[in-house]
């Protein structure tokens, strides 16, 4: 029917074609020689002026990585990556000596972030959101640091944390995602360049949202950032993460690691709006997004909530997970994954229930258009000790057009008789009835579609903090949902 192709077109304009972050910043950069070997690992470590223990950790990871194979179990298909054909370090030259304040940051860089809607100079900062901006391999600015320090919160580039807070980094880095964890995480451990570090002390409710904005600028450059968040007893933090990259014809690799550690009664809300360049309608270019994110709920009554809106990247491979070790700990995963054209997403979560009365909720919404493929892959495991464990999983797929695919791959392992696992899955096609109904009320095709898709995602989008919800809703192609009533 004609409406399906029309609809598919609209989605493409919403989800892909009009990638407005595709510009390149013309800025002098310093780069490591192309390729990957032990010297590159040493080069990166030296650039960051790292202590010996950090270098040794990287080298162990690199050694390990050499003996590993790229995983092939995900339902994604891409040409073999030539790891020697990329740069592993790229930094704006003006950062060489390290700016002491925002006044010393290259104005071109500040303009880049402004174009992205992330003003870093003090006058225009987002109210109530502290931002760390990571440009290629380095953090270029972290805002509101003084205010945060007053509350005892540490929010800084991870490269700086290695220098300033080595005891925390040494204790926790790799404690959730060990350097030997998986192919991409191990690669990241060897060559990670920057990322954010957060420590929330006991009993502190972080006074503002923390946010990191990742930007890949250089061609042929991989981005390997590492984020470590430690929420001490009774603390709370809401953390946001955004990502974009220029429009380029070749693929670029992004392999990040995020580790969250939660003590007794701590809570972390981690939100992501991932809008890496998805490639063009023929699948040319785009980011390969291979990410390992994991939270360890070590303390009793701790709670972690992952919310993600994934619209970008050519290939996504990502399973933000929760290890529910502390009794009564809670894990949540809310996800919207939109794929279009030739995008592929294999994403989901793992909920590992170890402690008693642990509970988890998974709400995953996949929207596929064009010739894209979207897979939900989720593991729920109740360990023998997970007495009274509970999981509820809901996976909904929405198909737009008839050339795309949606797949649900649940893995359920229950080793405790008292644990309960519930799984629901639905697949629907966007209905012509719905579109006609909206259009009869005066909405354009595009408005109708964005309204319906947005309604489909509502359960997830309402989990996002206000500051991000707007951006995410626009990304999903929404106009007014949520602004009234």
């Amino acid at each position: 029917m004609s409406y399906t192709s029309e609809t598919a077109e609209q989605v493409s304009s919403i989800a892909g074609d009009k990638y407005k972050y595709g510009f390149v910043t013309d800025i002098e950069t310093e780069m490591a020689p192309k390729g990957l070997n032990e010297d590159i690992v040493r080069f990166i470590s030296a650039k960051k002026n790292e202590p010996e223990w950090m270098l040794q950790w990287r080298l162990r990871a690199y050694e390990r990585w050499l003996g590993m194979d790229e995983p092939v179990w995900a339902k994604v298909d891409y040409p073999e990556i030539d790891f020697q054909d990329a740069y592993y370090y790229s930094a704006p030259k003006s950062m060489e000596d390290g700016p002491q304040s925002l006044d010393e940051v290259d104005p071109e860089l500040l303009r880049t972030y402004e174009k992205l809607g992330i003003p870093l100079h003090e006058q225009a900062m987002l109210a109530g959101v502290a931002v760390d901006a990571v440009f290629d391999s380095v953090s270029v600015a972290t805002t509101f640091r003084k205010e945060l320090a007053k509350a005892g919160v540490i929010f800084c580039p991870i490269s700086e944390a290695v220098q300033e807070h080595p005891e925390l980094v040494q204790k926790y880095m790799g404690s959730v995602v060990p350097y030997s964890d998986n192919y991409y995480a191990t690669l990241n451990s060897a060559v990670f360049t920057d990322g954010s570090f957060v420590y929330i002390p006991k009993g502190v409710r972080c006074p503002m949202e923390l946010s990191t904005y990742f930007r890949i600028n250089q061609a042929n450059t991989g981005q390997f950032e590492r984020t470590l968040i430690i929420a001490d007893e009774g603390s709370y933090v809401s953390y946001l993460e955004g990502c974009t990259a220029p429009q380029r014809d070749e693929h670029q690799l992004h392999a990040a690691v995020v580790e969250l550690v939660l003590m007794d009664d701590a809570e972390i809300k981690y939100s992501t709006v991932q809008n890496w360049y998805p490639g063009d309608e023929n699948g040319k270019g785009g980011i390969y997004n291979f990410v390992t994110k994991r939270a360890a709920c070590r303390g009793r009554n701790s709670k972690v909530s992952w919310t993600q809106v994934e619209t970008g990247s050519a290939v996504t491979w990502k399973y933000p997970s929760c290890i529910l070790q502390g009794d009564n700990s809670v894990g949540e995963f809310y996800s919207v994954a939109i794929t279009n054209n030739l995008q592929q997403a294999d994403t989901g979560t793992k909920m590992i229930h170890i402690g008693e009365n642990t509970s988890s909720t998974i709400i995953a919404k996949g929207i596929s258009a064009g010739r894209s493929q979207s897979t939900y892959r989720g593991l729920v495991r109740m360990q023998p000790g997970a007495k009274g464990g509970r999981n509820y999983t809901q996976c909904d797929s929405l198909l737009i057009g008839d050339k795309c695919g949606a797949h649900t791959v649940p893995y359920i392992e229950n080793r405790n008789r008292t644990a309960q696992i519930e799984h629901e899955a639905t697949t629907a096609k966007i209905s012509e009835d719905q579109l006609f109904y909206c259009r009869q009320r005066g909405l354009s095709d595009e408005e109708a579609l964005s309204m319906i898709v947005n309604g489909f995602c509502k359960q997830v989008l309402q989990e996002l903090p206000m500051e991000f919800a707007v951006e995410a809703q626009k990304l999903v192609g929404i106009s007014l949902e949520g602004s009234v009533g």
């Binding site: 006609f436 009869q440 009320r441 005066g442 354009s444 309204m451 947005n454 602004s483 009533g485």
Partner: protein, 251 residues
């Protein structure tokens, strides 16, 4: 207001409307009755410009314009409203959001300023009160979990907000209890005026006791088989559609 001449239309290659002539003047209310499957809903979709409903012959002129030039949403913005026989559910889309988006889309088209949240809510309140629509209904997804009667009242709410020039109400009375029927009829009557015309599709003369039509037409086999005043409805109620469904090709 609306002039339909020699209208033939098909759906997926099957001819359903086989030559309809109908003229509706400003301020008039016409009722269409007729057996199941005679093409009443099809006519409403053709008037709304639904994809897949193709006019193969004849013409529709609306307020002096050839309707074939306009797509569905343009017709809606020009003041054509369809109250659905089976209102559609929009999960996750709150009624408030939906109504505001629709109203502002129409206002934009008409060159009027969009309403902000406060102005909109004020306007909405007036109508929800009159139609006995609860806040809970407004918060829920459009039509999601609504009872049959609630869905129909919701259609009238939309009509009242959008203030169309020409409204087609397709079996708005079916599924309504007697109290709801009165509420809906009051809602419709409140909108009657010298500048607004309506086409009311129904199976029951009962509705026409409340919404008194100027003309009644019988649609059978894709044609207007008979037209008359409101007393025709009474006659049909008594005799049924026997003489029309027999398949005799009335001239």
């Amino acid at each position: 207001m609306l002039e339909i001449k020699g209208l033939h239309a098909d759906v997926d290659g099957t001819e359903i409307l086989k030559g309809i002539d109908l003229s509706i003047g400003e301020g008039e209310v016409h009722a269409i009755m007729g057996p199941n499957g005679s093409g009443k809903s099809t006519l409403s979709y053709v008037l709304s410009g639904r994809d897949g409903y193709n006019v193969t012959a004849g013409s529709i002129t609306y307020r002096g314009r050839d309707l074939s030039e306009l797509n569905t949403e343009e017709r809606a913005a020009e003041g054509i409203f369809l109250g659905f026989q089976y209102p559609v559910e929009l999960p996750g889309v709150s009624s408030t959001t939906f109504l505001k988006t629709a109203l502002n889309a129409v206002r934009r088209h008409r060159g009027e300023e969009e309403l902000d949240a406060v102005q909109f809510m004020k306007r909405l309140r007036v109508h929800t009160k009159a139609l006995n629509i609860s806040d809970d209904m407004l918060r829920r997804g459009v039509n999601v979990g609504f009872s049959g009667g609630e869905k129909k009242r919701n259609e009238i709410l939309q009509m009242a907000l959008l203030e169309p020039y020409f409204a087609v109400l397709d079996e708005t009375d079916s599924g309504l209890d007697i109290d709801a029927l009165k509420v809906v009829a009051e809602g419709v009557n409140a909108l009657r005026g010298p500048k607004r015309s309506m086409l009311v599709i129904t199976h029951y003369q009962r509705l026409l006791d409340y919404i008194v039509p100027d003309y009644v037409h019988v649609l059978a086999h894709g044609r207007i088989a008979r037209s008359g005043g409101k007393e025709l409805a009474l006659e049909l109620e008594e005799k049924g559609y026997g003489e029309f469904v027999a398949g005799t090709e009335a001239a």
